[in-house]
Amino acid sequence: MHFAFDEDQLEFRAQLRALAEKQCTPADIREAWASPLGWSRPRWAALAEMGVVGITVSEEFGGMGLGLVDAVLLLEEAGRAGLPEPLVETIALGVPVLADAPGQQGSVLRSRWLSAVADGGVRIAVGMSSMPAVPGAEGAELLLLERDGELHAVPAAAVALTPRPALDGSRRLAQVDWEPSPSTLVVSGFEAEEVLAALGDRAAMGVGAVLVGVADRLVAMAAQYAKDRSQFGKPIGSFQAVKHHLADALVRVEFARPMVYRAALSLSEGDRDASLHASMAKAMASDAATLAARTALQVHGAIGYTWEHDLHLWMKRAWALAAAWGDAATHRARVLEILLAKRP
């Protein structure tokens, strides 16, 4: 029992934080929102250079060969920094699918794509048929797409995209038109069910990690504002209503965090309760981020309601990700379902 990160993991996060402080200021995020792509190729390259993008790619293909426990701290940091780059899909969803893809097709996929991912030249988008549109489809070189319970790996050249803009300016959704074929098939049948379930669990954990980072930033911004802003002759943070709002939000964030870390651990260890843990984490992270957004806006008042204030850059991320890959209610329903399936 040692529920903590090791020095290397913390050091890696510190590096990412340093990079983000330089290359991902609010002005940078605004620039990304206004750009055609929604994120920045040079920043992606820097993230690849640092090893972030290839963190889960095995060393054989030039990656760091690390696992989800290493990745979870970086994803949380990505949320805190407001990184516009769609990291979760590549790091926590796409690479592990390719790494585990069975058979000859699996080997082919790995040699074709994994080195390029680690080099920063390839981004992976992931789309389920239940999704109204696929996040990060534009700018992705490889799309992992589910249809009728089968999972396919489709190169960008083989899909047609219809952009569907979203409230968060760096979430570039698109409807994807494509045709499944034997050459794109990664896995089908019962095996696909397992792969897709694991994918969903990793998405819940990965998005949950980003949400915890986003929530943490929202609370921090609001606390800072509450110290700086005065009304009635004193900082608004000295009013009990403001204090209690923020304390409640902070508590929800702090208790969501270890749940997300544990989900990463269980997923990386193949724990038989990994799905349970992933859903618990996403439920808490979604709610923590939603509450943090609500609280931060209320503490800021009108200024937080403006486009020119930076708060909305994180609020909109919180709302979008809280609903992505299953909202809190969905994951709570799944938690209860899993628990009831266990005989006491």
Binding site: P132, A133, R164, A166, Q231, F232, Q298, T306, E308, D327
Partner: protein, 400 residues
């Protein structure tokens, strides 16, 4: 106890409904929906709609006929609003004037002021924005620092009598980007105690020295603005109520904003009805998913209905000669939370679709409604301030 309308009121309702049915801009008629009123084009389109309403005497039904109204009672006003929202008619671009300023003009204005301002307000010829908050006077409204200085006979202008010179800055002026006039408080006596020494002014936005900086909201559009005043000259006739009486005059207006008149329950009951329809649709597609939000849907619908009944309750008291008082703060808490509950639940029902913008890159109705609802607990006195008011003035708890 009786919750039925008279047959005369029902006839009034039918008349409103028929007129709206025939005139509300709509896609099927090729006249709508109007572009967002937070754009220059949309603002003018909404102004034109105000004129259409005014010409048919529907823009200010509760006002006396001489100012463009029908002298309708409070219940008729509520009926009108119910029909207006049911018809999904355009947002009232003139609402800051009609709902916030006009009650004050009726109470404190001179006959000349009433004649000068009210008809032009009712017709949409002059759209008003509010000038309450300042960068350092938000929740603490009495901290206003914008100044009004009296000068006698402006130099070289050949004018008669007293004139005031305004300096300072107002912010969060709803509709401020495109409005014609602004109303607000300025400190006319810098030595008086905070709540005293304020005066209520009416100022044309095209006055020399007025600068408008539109502010973009969460949706990227300029629903409000900062307004800067640099030696803006205003004749004495544009003071509303007495000099130094601004706080009292403004509180009457704030009472309108927070209380009954602006927040017609129809808005929430209509939104709640649409929420039920959204639920029905989503439940047909995926009953399990929708069912997880069933309790929230019911809660939101019930609260909207409770707001409606509370309004009838209050209206009855007012018609019986009673007042509204600090209960207005309860209303504000309730409608703002109800609205947010309705809109958040709708987004939850929409799930992953909720974040998507429309083909025009604008938030579609539910997302738009959610963003709008988020402002509810903040403006017109934050909900924290309202809870203080309820605790202190209704429950009698001591001030801090």
């Amino acid at each position: 106890m009786d919750l039925r309308f008279t047959s005369e009121q029902e006839r009034f309702r039918a008349e409103v409904r028929d007129w709206l049915e025939a005139h509300v801009p709509s896609a099927s008629r090729g006249t709508g929906p109007l572009p967002s009123l937070d754009t220059a084009e949309g603002f003018e389109a909404h102004r034109a709609w105000e004129r259409v309403m005014y010409d048919a005497r529907w823009s200010v039904v509760s006002w006396p006929e001489e100012f463009g109204g029908r002298g309708a009672g409070l219940l008729e006003w509520i009926i009108f609003e119910e029909e207006y929202y049911r018809a999904r008619a355009p947002t009232r671009v003139g609402q800051n004037g009609i709902f916030l300023l006009a009650p004050t003009v009726f109470e404190f204005g001179t006959p000349e002021q009433k004649a000068r301002y009210l008809p032009a307000m009712a017709s949409g010829e002059e759209i008003w924005c509010q000038g309450w908050s300042e960068p350092d006077a938000g929740s603490d409204l009495a901290a206003i620092r914008s100044r009004a200085t009296l000068t006698t006979g402006a130099p070289g202008a050949g004018t008669e009598g007293d004139r005031w010179v305004l300096n300072g800055q107002k912010t969060w002026c709803s509709r401020g980007a495109f409005a014609d006039w602004i109303f607000g408080l300025f400190r006319s006596d810098p030595d008086a105690e905070r709540h005293r020494g304020l005066t209520y002014f009416l100022v044309p936005m095209d006055s020399p020295g007025v600068t408008v900086r539109p502010i973009a909201q969460l949706d990227g559009e300029t629903g409000f603005a900062e307004v800067f005043f640099e030696d803006v000259e205003v004749p004495a006739g544009q003071v509303l109520g007495g000099v130094g009486e601004g706080w009292k005059v403004a509180m009457a207006t704030a009472g309108s904003e927070r209380g009954l008149s602006l927040r017609s329950p129809a808005r929430y009951t209509e939104a709640a009805a649409r929420l039920v329809e959204l639920y029905r649709r989503q439940a047909e597609a995926d009953p399990g998913r929708a069912g997880r939000h069933a309790d929230d849907v019911a809660r939101a619908v019930i609260d909207a209905e409770a707001y409606r009944l509370q309004t009838y309750w209050t209206v009855t008291r007012v018609l019986d000669g009673g007042g509204v008082g600090p209960e207005a703060s309860m209303n504000k808490l309730f409608w703002s939370e109800t609205d947010l509950a309705i809109q958040s639940t709708a987004l939850a029902l929409l799930g992953e679709e909720a974040e998507m913008l429309g083909d025009d890159s604008r938030p579609p109705p539910w997302l738009d409604g959610f963003l709008f609802a988020l402002a509810g607990p903040i403006y017109a006195g934050t909900n924290e301030i309202q809870r203080n008011v309820v605790a202190e003035r209704v429950l009698g708890l001591p001030r801090a």
